[in-house]
């Protein structure tokens, strides 16, 4: 939006009630935000939750802007939906996109307690806000007079400078901590191929290398277990990560069905040719 309109918006915001435009915006986007939040909670797959959350955040960013917090609005979009949600998605990929955890509750009574608490909490909050005498709205117009970013900077580097520095330190520490947590120290050097072979011999199982995935040209995807001679699938042929995620597609039965269908078709064709000869 252009500076002029923004200035106009600020002047408006100083008012006691808001413009109808903002009202409309609030009701529409607010609804969406709530729905997004609910989806975040109730989607079975983490990816979906993440996407819904991202949506909610973007809406919140808009609300920030509407409340005259331009800087925060931008930061919300850039940092949250940009950086943090991406981080989430990375992890989700790592842990498994399709890995859907069942919503079936294991702890006895947990869900009811949770809903009860949530309900009560919400009601209480609403009651609290209702009780609070929040008639007076100064509006951030005067505060933003020198520009919102400048105003924030003003405070940030004077009043809150220590807190600011501390958060900086916090961030550094956090990132270092994250590295420490995720970094795995390789204690011994990587085994050479010879050593691996000798180990296999010593262990005595899988003397040959693990079987390659896929037995039919149609199914050579990494997530399809190869079939053993008797037609049973061998999970060994699937990448370990996929196995851990439980993302294995079993096609053994499918293959047999294809075979059966093929035979039927050939049998039918023979039938037709035979009948054709007979009609001659």
């Amino acid at each position: 939006m252009t500076p002029t309109t923004s200035m106009a918006a600020t002047t408006q915001l100083a008012a006691y009630t808001t413009s109808t435009g903002e009202a409309v915006q609030f009701w529409v986007l607010g609804t969406v935000a709530v729905i997004g939040a609910l989806c975040t909670v109730f989607m079975r797959k983490a990816v979906h939750s993440a996407l819904c959350l991202a949506g909610t955040m973007i809406i919140l960013a808009v609300f920030y802007l509407a409340n005259g917090a331009y800087f925060l609005g931008v930061v919300q979009i850039v940092v949250y939906t940009g950086a943090i949600m991406m981080l989430f998605l990375f992890v989700v990929m790592l842990v498994g996109v399709t890995a859907a955890d069942s919503l079936k509750e294991t702890i006895k009574g947990q869900r009811w307690l949770a809903l009860l608490c949530g309900l009560g909490f919400g009601i209480l909050l609403f009651a609290g806000i209702g009780n609070a005498s929040l008639t007076q709205f100064a509006g951030v117009g005067r505060a933003n007079a020198g520009g919102n970013v400048e105003g924030l900077a003003q405070l940030l580097f004077t009043k809150y400078v220590f807190a600011f520095e501390l958060t900086g330190a916090l961030l550094i520490t956090a990132s270092v901590g994250a590295m420490v947590l995720t970094h795995r120290e390789r204690t011994e050097r990587a085994k050479t191929q010879r050593e691996l072979a000798e180990q296999r011999v010593r262990e005595g199982k899988h003397l040959p290398p693990l079987p390659a995935p896929g037995v039919y040209a149609r199914h050579n995807a990494v997530d399809i277990a190869g079939l053993l001679p008797d037609g049973t699938p061998s999970e060994l042929t699937v990448n370990k990560t996929l196995r851990d995620r439980g993302q294995i597609r079993d096609v053994s039965a499918e293959a047999l069905n294809d075979l059966k269908a093929l035979e039927q078709r050939s049998a039918a064709r023979l039938e037709r040719t035979r009948s054709g000869e007979a009609s001659k």
Partner: protein
């Protein structure tokens, strides 16, 4: 002169300290140190006595204040001595007899490897006893009182390897403690009544308080006296006390310590005089014990126990006399002194006999010893005559006076008491004659038999050197033993006459105790004559029983009374059943209560707490989410609370 009084106590105390701390290096000379110091104490006593005789009757009381003992607000106890005629009498008796018995013990304990300690204990006893009679206030007297108790405990249990001795010692101390309780309560009463417990102030201002209080004090003092002087009902320890070496029996349980009760009563005369009820009780106690002891004495076959019974009954005489008030005090003390002589002599004689008979104490296994140990026989015989009150000997004078005084009490009680005293005289004559005959006359029942009798498994170490299990060879004791016996025999013959003729003793003691002549309903002569008659009767009866017919070596079953008397008239059985058994049950049940109830409550609490926490632990299921629920709920509650706050 005053400063010598402390030395009187200090000498034997020093001896005790040296001998007990000195260690084995003193074993060689220990007994001499003890004897010399005892003698030194006697000499000092004699010097003081001479000095006292030099003054006129009223000025004879002297005192010495050493230092303030327990100075506390409103409570003043001093270490201070008072020496008047009464104390002096005791000092001479104690140190005199004491020295003799030290001398005797040198021979008697010759073969005991712990002789040094024995003399240490003897000196300790002397010191405590002197402290008792020299103290100028009741609290210090209490110290001496318990001190002699300790000494007698140590000496009774001297042969501690004999369980019987250890038990007897413990019993003596405990029974005495009961008496001591009386003494301490009496002292407390004095403190609350008079604000002090020094003899002077208390006795002077005795008249200013109510008779009830005085009676209470007097009865408490009497209780103490009963404990120390083995009067009914606290007499049971004296018989067992004979477990101690014989010199101990002679010194402590015949001559000196057991008479402390009499001293206490006479010393507190002013209180008793104002408490007639207490006096009556005292006389009754005396009379009862007098008969009790005499009866017990008749039945015992153990020579020392027989003598113990007689001691009991003689002290009964003294207490009776003391209970009679001013008409009796002097005679109580006089009998006490004479009794000190002849009873000590008798015990030493008995000891000498045992010494010669491999420590056999059963008179039924004696007999005809007079020609084997003549000196013992003569001295013992003189003591015998003295104690039965043979006219002219010391026992005669003192006992006769007491009987007179008893009659002089007047009224029916006068008659009763007098009668009891006479009866006692008769019984005394009976059992003493019995002892005499069984021991020194009749056929020699100790021939052709070993002495180690089953009821006396372990014999005194003093005898171990001579073949304890062979037939005994009765022999006269060494000179160190006979000399004291001879001296005491002299005392028991002449002391009475010396005191009695011209009422010398009475005039000597009067300033302290006061004296008034009683007026017996019958003439003194009648009393005397009847006394002589009853003693002849008693002695004659005994001669019929034990002189004419032979004495069986094994005691016959005897009549009910005899059997009861052998068992100290069932007093011990009573104690055993009521006190010992009851006490055991009480303590055992209390231990149980302490363990189950008192402790159980505590442990129960602990257990319940443990169980509760065990249940609560299940809330900690380890699921982060359920913790989160509680957090969330908590937050909700907080909000509710704040809202309510604002609402209110």
């Amino acid at each position: 002169m005053e400063n010598l009084i402390a030395l009187l106590v200090a000498a034997p105390l020093l001896g005790a300290a040296v001998l007990l701390c000195g260690g084995r290096r003193l074993d060689a000379v220990g007994h001499w140190i003890g004897t010399v110091l005892a003698a030194a104490s006697f000499v000092i006593g004699a010097v003081l006595f001479a000095d006292m005789l030099g003054k006129d009757a009223e000025a004879r009381e002297i005192g010495q204040h050493l230092f303030s003992w327990i100075p506390v607000e409103g409570f003043q106890a001093d270490i201070a001595f008072q020496l008047d005629q009464l104390s002096m009498t005791f000092v001479l008796l104690i140190t005199g007899v004491g020295t003799l018995i030290h001398l005797y013990s040198i021979g008697y304990m010759e073969h005991d490897e712990r002789r040094r300690r024995f003399f240490g204990y003897l000196n300790l006893f002397l010191a405590a006893m002197l402290l008792l009679v020299l103290a100028d206030n009741y609290l210090l007297l209490y110290v001496g009182w318990e001190g002699v108790g300790l000494a007698s405990y140590l000496l009774i249990g001297f042969w501690q390897h004999k369980p019987s001795a250890a038990t007897a010692a413990k019993k003596a101390f405990l029974v005495n403690r009961v008496g001591d309780m009386g003494l301490s309560i009496a002292i407390m009463l004095m403190f609350t009544t008079f604000g002090t417990f020094a003899f002077g102030p208390v006795l002077e201002s005795a008249g200013e308080t109510s008779e009830g209080k005085l009676t209470a004090i007097a009865l408490m003092l009497l209780l103490a006296a009963c404990g120390k002087s083995a009067q009914v009902p606290l007499q049971s320890w004296l018989g067992d006390a004979m477990e101690g070496p014989t010199p101990v029996s002679a010194l402590i349980h015949a001559a000196t310590m057991v008479t402390a009760g009499v001293y206490l009563i006479v010393r507190s005369a002013d209180i008793f005089n104002l408490a007639p009820d207490a006096q009556l009780v005292t006389t009754v106690v005396g009379a009862v014990t007098l008969l009790f002891g005499a009866i017990v004495g008749c039945a015992k076959d153990d020579i020392k126990k027989a003598l113990a019974g007689s001691t009991m009954s003689q002290i009964g005489y003294m207490v009776l006399a003391a209970g009679l008030g001013p008409i009796g005090y002097v005679f109580a003390i006089m009998h006490l002194v004479t009794h000190g002589f002849f009873k000590a002599g008798l015990f030493l004689g008995a000891g000498s006999v045992m010494h010669g008979m491999n420590d056999e104490v059963d008179m039924r296994k004696y007999g005809g010893l007079r020609k084997y140990m003549p000196v013992t026989f003569v001295t013992f015989g003189l003591g015998y005559l003295a104690i039965i009150g043979f006219p002219g000997l010391s026992g005669f004078f003192s006992k006769d006076k007491i009987i007179e005084a008893a009659f002089a009490k007047g009224g029916t009680e006068g008659w009763i008491l007098g009668g009891v005293a006479l009866l006692g005289a008769a019984i005394t004559a009976y059992y003493m004659t019995r002892v005499m005959l069984m021991t020194f006359f009749g056929e020699e029942r100790w021939r052709n038999r070993a002495t180690a009798s089953p009821d006396q498994p372990d014999v005194e170490p003093a005898a171990e050197h001579q073949g304890a299990h062979a037939e005994p060879h009765p022999h006269e004791s060494p000179r160190s033993m006979t000399i004291p016996m001879i001296v005491l025999a002299f005392g028991s013959v002449f002391a009475g006459a010396f005191f009695g003729v011209g009422d010398r003793f009475m005039h000597w003691l009067e300033p302290v105790t006061g004296h008034e002549h009683g007026h017996p309903p019958v003439s003194a002569l009648t009393v005397t004559l009847s006394t002589v008659v009853v003693l002849v009767l008693g002695a004659g009866l005994a001669y019929l029983h034990y002189g004419r017919r032979p004495v069986p070596v094994v005691a016959p079953r005897g009549s009910l009374l005899t059997r009861a008397a052998r068992r100290d008239l069932l007093q011990d059985d009573f104690n055993h059943v009521v006190l010992v058994r009851g006490g055991e049950h009480l303590t055992r049940s209390l231990v149980y209560v302490d363990h189950t109830l008192v402790d159980g409550v505590v442990n129960g609490t602990a257990a319940s707490v443990g169980g509760l926490s065990g249940r609560l632990r299940k809330l900690q299921n380890g699921y982060a989410r359920s913790y989160a629920v509680s957090m969330f709920g908590g937050a909700a509650v907080l909000i509710a609370a704040t809202l309510l706050m604002r609402a209110v």
